[in-house]
């Protein structure tokens, strides 16, 4: 374990702490105390909100924009791989485990693909007039940092210099709870709320 491992772990702890505090806040606030008489089922609405409502055929944001939707999915897949890889790298640093041979090429391929999607999403924001008008620094920064993290992860599978990798990973964990990347947590809360609203009123499931 080198100092940069500890640095990255410290940022991970920072990130985790902020998210846990927010999660506790969300749980404490609980479900809306709605006094109106329900005409549908909240449970069914919430279940629908997390499942079928998310299918591309049920959301204009997906079916009207297949390339962006696809790129977004792959990009988010890349984030998951990168975070899992980070944990794996730390574990190998502690326990001296070896990475199975199949993993690096496989992950690299995925991460290059997802990074490409990240760049494409960033380009769309830069070049599409309406989207650019809507954007603030956070929008560019978040996509850039996350894309960079994925690229760095891909490189680190092939033993690139550890310092830049852990520096980028640290930046990623620092930014995650600060930027709009915080939707990592709020996404689930928002979908619950929407499912609650439509479920109670009998709009979902449809």
């Amino acid at each position: 374990m080198e100092w940069y491992h500890w640095m990255a772990l410290a940022t991970l702890l920072f990130c985790k702490t902020l998210f846990v505090i927010r999660l506790i806040e969300i749980i404490k606030r609980g479900a809306p105390n709605d006094l109106s008489k329900p005409s549908g089922s909240v449970a069914k609405g919430v279940r629908y909100s997390y499942t079928k409502a998310m299918l591309p055929q049920n959301k204009e944001s997906a079916y009207l924009h297949p390339p962006t939707f696809g790129a977004g999915l792959i990009f988010h897949g890349g984030i998951l791989i990168s975070i899992l890889a980070f944990i794996w790298f730390i574990l190998t640093a502690i326990f001296g485990w070896a990475t199975p041979e199949i993993i690096p090429p496989l992950c690299c391929l995925c991460l290059l693909g997802s990074s490409f999607c990240g760049v494409a999403i960033l380009c769309k924001r830069v070049f599409k007039r309406a989207l650019r008008a809507l954007s603030c620094a956070d929008d560019y920064l978040s996509t850039a940092i996350v894309t960079l993290f994925q690229l760095a992860t891909a490189g680190y599978f092939y033993h690139s210099d550890p310092l830049p990798y852990y520096a980028i990973a640290s930046l990623f964990f620092l930014w995650l709870p600060i930027g709009k990347t915080r939707h990592l947590l709020y996404f689930f809360a928002a979908r619950y709320q929407l499912g609650f609203f439509y479920g109670r009123r009998g709009t979902w499931p449809q």
Partner: protein, 431 residues
């Protein structure tokens, strides 16, 4: 200029950490911009300011600036905005003039951000600063002062009801047919949109005909019959509560078992869904829409309809507050299909419907008339594509917007309420 006091009152609304929804939705939007094509304003204008996410950003940038650590430390990085006169004016334009609260964007949002909830919070902020479009506030104030949003005097209201009773008796050839006023201990207290007694009373007669056919025990209050709730549109929860309380207490005063809400989208939503939360009480009477009641009559065989009496091809316009935000998609179709011979749907329809353009109080705001007609063209084109002769909608607000669209875009259709189309198909005297 807005004062420090106005600013503090407005910003306090965003500071509420106990509200189960607020903090979640203030922190969820990623400005992917994919909601743009779900919004009639963006579809009509193609301008970035109309993207629903831009409306969300208007409120979340204030939240970040004043209520988050990162917004205070890194305002340039996380997208923040100061609340000043310019911002306030932009908020009025976005939250009142560029959103009908239809909620189509929320349903299609890639995250699930309750965008109309946030726009509603934006309206609350403006109400706290007392910067509400004049014509909208005037309508709410009139309802508070007189009990109905058009300021109709009680004697003139009674006179109109009596007139409709005579029309009903003449149509049915039955001198016993009644529109009972202020009677106690009836099953149903029925409510109206003031535009009915003031300008379009035939829908009152139509509903009375249905009640007559169903042999219902019902009444209308001559003091509090107004189903609309402009306090809700204004983001003024205090006024909205007064209006909801008027109907709530009148139901008790007249000892009615059920409060039936006339064909009004936002009014039904305000009383049925929001009212209990404003009044902080559950209702121990049923509050339901006229549409649901008619559906019940048909199912129970209390009224009988002859579809062949409505031969013209019909379509249905889904009021956002009754369908997407009220869950009445199937019920509405059941009732209308029971009453007409030829029925066809618009594309899209149901929970994916486009707003008529008059929602969220827009119909009442002269300030945004031009925009309202331009966004309404989407609905006009939809109607034209169906090739129908009659458009049915259970919301007087939609009726008026559709009437204007019909005229402006020369659609050549009739616009009817559900009660009117059902009344036309009624078989009276069937044993």
């Amino acid at each position: 200029m807005i004062t420090q006091e106005q600013k503090e009152k407005a910003l306090a609304i965003l500071a509420d950490r106990a509200d189960p929804k607020l903090q979640t939705h203030l922190n969820s939007c990623v400005r992917c911009g994919l909601c743009a094509d779900s919004c009639i304003y963006y579809k009509a204008y193609g301008e970035a300011q109309y993207i629903p996410a831009a409306k969300v950003n208007m409120i979340t940038s204030l939240y970040r600036r004043y209520h988050t650590t990162e917004g205070k430390l890194l305002p340039g990085l996380v997208g923040t905005r100061k609340l000043n006169e310019e911002t306030a004016q932009k908020m009025v334009d976005l939250f009142f003039g560029s959103c009908t609260l239809c909620g189509r964007c929320a349903k299609h949002c890639s995250i699930g951000v309750d965008i109309p909830f946030l726009v509603g919070k934006g309206r609350e902020m403006l109400a706290a600063m007392e910067i509400i479009p004049k014509s909208l506030q005037a309508t709410a104030d009139m309802a508070i002062q007189t009990g109905n949003n058009m300021g109709i005097p009680v004697d003139e209201f009674r006179d109109t009801i009596q007139w409709m009773e005579e029309e009903l008796q003449e149509e049915l050839g039955d001198a016993e047919a009644q529109i009972p006023l202020d009677e106690t201990n009836k099953q149903i207290l029925y409510t109206l949109n003031p535009r009915e007694p003031k300008f379009f009373p035939l829908s009152i007669a139509a509903m009375a005909k249905i009640f007559h056919a169903a042999k219902e025990s019902w009444t209308i209050s001559s003091n509090y019959y107004d189903v609309t709730n402009y306090g809700f549109f204004c983001g003024n929860n205090a006024q909205a509560s007064v209006m909801a309380r008027n109907l709530y207490e009148e139901t008790y005063r007249l000892q009615a078992k059920r409060l039936v809400l006339g064909e009004c989208g936002h009014g039904t939503r305000a009383i049925r869904w929001e009212g209990p939360n404003w009044l902080k009480t559950t209702y121990d009477f049923d509050a339901l829409s006229a549409l649901e009641l008619i559906g019940e009559y048909i199912r129970q065989g209390r009224i009988h309809l002859d579809k062949s009496l409505n031969q013209k091809v019909c379509t249905l316009h889904d009021p956002c507050n009754l369908v997407r935000n009220g869950g009445l998609l199937k019920e509405m179709r059941f009732v209308v299909r029971s009453a007409v011979t030829h029925f066809t749907e618009m594309t899209p329809c149901g929970t994916d419907n486009f707003c008529c353009g008059g929602g969220g109080g827009n119909l009442a705001m002269s300030e945004y008339n031009e925009r309202r007609l331009k966004i309404g063209k989407i609905k006009a084109d939809q109607i034209r594509q169906t090739g129908v002769k009659v458009v049915i909608t259970p919301c007087h607000n939609c009726v008026d917007q559709l009437t204007q669209l019909n005229h402006t875009y020369k659609l050549g259709v009739e616009i009817k309420t559900v009660a009117e189309i059902v009344a036309d198909a009624l078989i009276i005297n069937k044993e």
